[in-house]
């Protein structure tokens, strides 16, 4: 069996993304590098054959998914419930966590101006976020970070797929450079403002194409 055949069979049979390490378990002769290479072969083949599906990277894993242009056809089969769209409140909290992680509940609430505890519970239930540690503050608050499920849900390869803080239309940086000293907002007061803007490896549009 060729490596790409083994990888193809495994990916085909899986309903969830598989990491190269997981795929390599299919055969003793397979290394992670073989798997990566096999995936590349498969991708090119599917591309050349105009297959209706492609191997996509979601987080650390790979999964065979249909191409977006077939969505209208598949959506007619609504027999299987689709993952629910996240509410604005959930998205707000996720956005803050994604850019400021690890971050505690209080800091999230500071940004949103509203309570976040119930939203955080929902996000934890859905495994979109997880507790990544404890802060130094009073009561050693729980700190949250995003999970692989988060990357899967949004079709991202990694957190770096998200545009960096500078690339967004409303930048925090714009306020900094505001000339009128009087109204200049005190950005430095913000808890960890601009905390390490993620390095942008690829524009988000490249993630799933």
């Amino acid at each position: 069996m060729k490596p790409e055949q083994i990888v193809e069979a495994t990916l085909f049979a899986s309903q969830t993304p598989l990491t190269p390490a997981e795929l390599a378990r299919a055969d003793e002769g397979l290394s992670d590098a073989d798997v990566e290479q096999a995936i590349q072969v498969l991708r090119e083949r599917y591309e050349a054959n105009e297959a209706a599906f492609q191997v996509y990277q979601l987080g650390d894993g790979y999964q065979i998914l249909t191409r977006p242009e077939f969505a209208p056809y598949l959506e007619r089969f609504d027999s299987v419930p689709r993952p629910p769209h996240l509410s604005p409140a959930a998205l707000e909290s996720l956005a803050i966590i994604a850019y400021r992680q690890p971050i505690g509940r209080i800091e999230i609430e500071d940004v949103r101006g509203v309570s976040a505890s119930s939203v955080l519970r929902t996000l934890l239930d859905w495994e979109l976020i997880t507790v990544v540690g404890r802060g130094d503050g009073l009561g050693r608050p729980l700190l949250y970070g995003t999970t692989d499920r988060f990357l899967e849900h949004f079709g991202l390869k990694g957190i770096s797929d998200l545009p960096s803080a500078e690339e967004l239309p409303v930048e925090l940086g714009a306020a900094k450079e505001q000339p009128e000293a009087e109204a200049a907002p005190e950005l430095d007061q913000a808890p960890e403002v601009d905390a390490e803007p993620p390095v942008v490896a690829l524009p988000a549009s490249d993630t799933l194409t």
Binding site: P68, R82, E92, A95, G113, V114, S115, P169, A183, P185
Partner: protein, 264 residues
């Protein structure tokens, strides 16, 4: 607080005020969302917010919605309202002339607003990514074996036909008060019949139990008897394919106890 009353009843360029606002307020994620909406929808320079104007609008906006809200959520709006009034008060206070560099009381609020707006952009990025991801289906999206489509023959019927049919529904007969004789056949009878047959043949077709009588009561009693005996594990019920005869098969020594009870 008397400053509040002077700026009462602001014009409401964003459709605020009136009873309909109760629903409107639900749309906002929180006080920052509402405040940002007020500012952005009126093209106000966020670095030079007319606090008095915005405060009045904000207070008018939440006035109707607060009662409907859970206490915690209402508190968040009230806190913002208080913050706005505090900032306004600070702006109104006469300031000593020479303070080297004085911070604008609005600065902290502006910072929070911009930060909030910044994350609204992230929300849009996430929403787009979510929608895009939703257009890729993995295995299992389409149900493996869809249920057979129920044959729905649509009734072709005109109103006239319906009325005609309705007119011919007979009047319900007046209830008759007679005591009907109790069932002519009992499950017990069928059980003993079945026991006898099974004892002899080891294998009996179910319809043999009621064919000779051919009435519904017999069929029902026979079926119940068969089920009862299957429950007692005296017989096994088998059918090779749909609509084929149903067979009752003797289990173990079940047949030997025939005629033990309720001889008919």
């Amino acid at each position: 607080m008397n400053s509040t009353s002077t700026v009462r009843a602001p014009d409401s360029p964003v459709g605020i005020g009136g009873e309909s606002f109760v629903v409107e307020l639900e749309r906002f994620q929180g006080p920052l969302d509402l405040l940002l909406h007020l500012i952005r929808s009126q093209d106000i320079d966020v670095f030079d917010i007319p606090i008095s104007h915005i405060t009045a609008q904000f207070r008018a906006a939440i006035e109707h919605g607060l009662d409907e809200m859970p206490l915690e959520r209402a508190g968040e709006f009230i806190e913002m309202s208080a913050t706005l009034i505090r900032i306004k008060a600070q702006l109104l206070l006469p300031r000593p002339e020479k303070l080297e560099w004085e911070e604008d009381p609005r600065a902290e609020l502006v910072r929070r607003l911009l930060e909030y707006e910044h994350f609204q952009d992230v929300v849009h990025v996430l929403q787009t990514a979510e929608a895009q991801r939703g257009r890729h289906m993995g295995k299992g999206f389409v149900e493996t074996r869809p249920p057979p489509a129920a044959s729905r023959s649509i009734l072709q019927l005109t109103l006239d036909e319906l009325l005609h049919a309705a007119a011919h529904i007979p009047e319900p007969l007046p209830p008759i008060h007679v005591r009907a004789p109790s069932s002519t056949v009992t499950v017990g009878e069928k059980v003993s019949l079945l026991r006898r047959l099974i004892g002899r043949a080891k294998r009996v077709a179910l319809d043999r139990l009621f064919k000779p009588w051919g009435t519904r009561a017999h069929a029902v009693a026979a079926l119940l008897a068969a089920l009862e005996m299957a429950r007692q594990q005296v017989v096994r019920i088998e059918q090779t394919k749909p609509f084929s005869p149903i067979w009752l098969l003797a289990v173990g020594r079940g047949g030997e106890e025939s005629d033990a009870e309720e001889n008919s």
